[in-house]
Subunit: 270 residues, 2 copies
């Protein structure tokens, strides 16, 4: 999917919502545990109830790997379901991978070819040759960790190198890499005040913004500082939406929560 | 496994060799492709031929994820085979994970509980709360990326914050984290001259050292600068050993290459 197609979807749906599919078997409605594949059953119900309200889904791979083979199978079924039923939706493998060149190529194949995700999140610590193998895939997107939403972001990301914070070096340096047009960036909503500075470095790139909701970030603030003419934002909410209820009504409850966010986005877009 | 047990194994086998199980179906002997599970068949043959020459095996998860469900199943079978047949061997999931707290906990469960690895490699970019969930597991080891073996290491890791390189900040800061006694570190053999400096910060910790062989690092140099009284080194070789031959004799050829390295290690230890 191209970023142009993504922007078109945002305008059509009046939403730049991404829903995080972080399935924890201890948190999903317990009646689903009788299903043959409870993780996929949960995801399918959430997707059926919310797909018209969002433009992206983001399964975090940790939640699937934690269940071993069954988890990986549920991830495969989920992305296949999305690609067949809702090919207009942008899919993000939240995997935070990154390794030496030939190994990153294997990860890129896993997520872009085998699973056919539109994008994957990647960690920048190992530098250029750990990220470029992902960037080499046409019409696929590499979402680089820049400034994350957690407290640990202040351990290294905001430390200054020659008066400039590490995450800004990551942004600046990444612009020089081959196929940098395929980059997007993770910037946490809990650090919305940094967005004005970030937009000076990457005025147009799409940002994936976690941390609205459960982690306390403000949608309005993120938009004030981070929105571009082409919107340029994907706001993620995971737990706040998918665990809105753990009763029989969980899918409708998640749709109601997604609708709330979509309506706030619609009023911001207008 | 405790680090004491690991050191005992090193002394017994006169080896601190780790063999990287990075299985690429394009590179393994083609007669194995007729097997029901070629990846596991390859790993089993390599393990059977080399287990007396090494103290650790390190499958890199990228090479398994690239083959989807089949790959994940082969990874499960490989770690189970190691844990049942060779419980004295230290196992490393080279996964380079790292995410916000509750998500890192899911990764830790995946690798320490579900797959029962002794250790996992973790990226430091997201800081303390992304690493501590791994450190919470008793007698499990978190191998933090410090200074990696690739060219991209110079993009950020060696950049100076207050006159001190980022990778040194990572080392210093990580020592303050809860259960930091469970930390080991990745330091590339291609940067052996940095080891003297690194040993000033972490005099005792085990280092996992990739980059000897295919990437050009020198075993002797790494030992000169990095070895401790308890050895404190695991030297990894992947391609140099496992792809020593792609004929019917591949397992014997890998054992011969492993034996070469083991003998060099024995002479260094003496």
């Amino acid at each position: 999917m191209t970023t142009h197609q993504l922007t078109e979807q945002i305008k059509k749906k009046k939403s730049f919502l991404c829903i995080g599919l972080d399935v924890d078997l201890n948190k999903i409605p317990q009646h689903l545990l009788q299903e043959e594949d409870p993780i996929f059953a949960f995801n399918k119900a959430i997707i059926d109830a919310t797909h018209h309200l969002c433009v992206a889904y983001k399964p975090n791979t940790a939640f699937y790997e934690a269940y071993g083979l069954k988890g990986w199978k549920a991830l495969e079924k989920t992305i296949m379901y999305l690609n067949v039923k809702h090919p207009e939706i942008f899919t993000i493998a939240d995997a935070k991978r990154g390794d030496i060149g030939n190994t990153s190529t294997m990860y890129a194949k896993a997520f872009f070819e085998d699973l056919a995700f539109d994008s994957v999140t990647v960690a920048p610590y190992m530098g250029k040759d750990s990220v470029e193998p992902f960037l080499a895939f046409e019409n696929k997107h590499t979402i680089l960790l820049a400034l994350t939403s957690n407290a640990g972001a202040f351990d290294f990301q905001t430390k200054k190198i020659d008066e400039v914070e590490l995450y800004k070096h990551v942004l600046e340096t990444s612009k020089t890499w081959n196929n940098s047009q395929n980059l997007m960036y993770v910037v946490g909503a809990t650090k919305a005040e940094y967005l004005a500075e970030i937009r000076k470095i990457i005025p147009e790139s799409f940002l994936l913004v976690p941390g609205v909701g459960a982690q306390g970030g403000s949608l309005q603030e993120v938009c004030n500082y981070g929105m571009t003419n082409n919107v340029g934002l994907l706001i993620n909410s995971s737990r706040g939406i998918i665990y809105a209820s753990n009763g029989e009504d969980f899918a409708q409850a998640s749709a109601a929560k997604a609708k709330e966010l979509q309506e706030q986005m619609e009023s911001i877009l207008n």
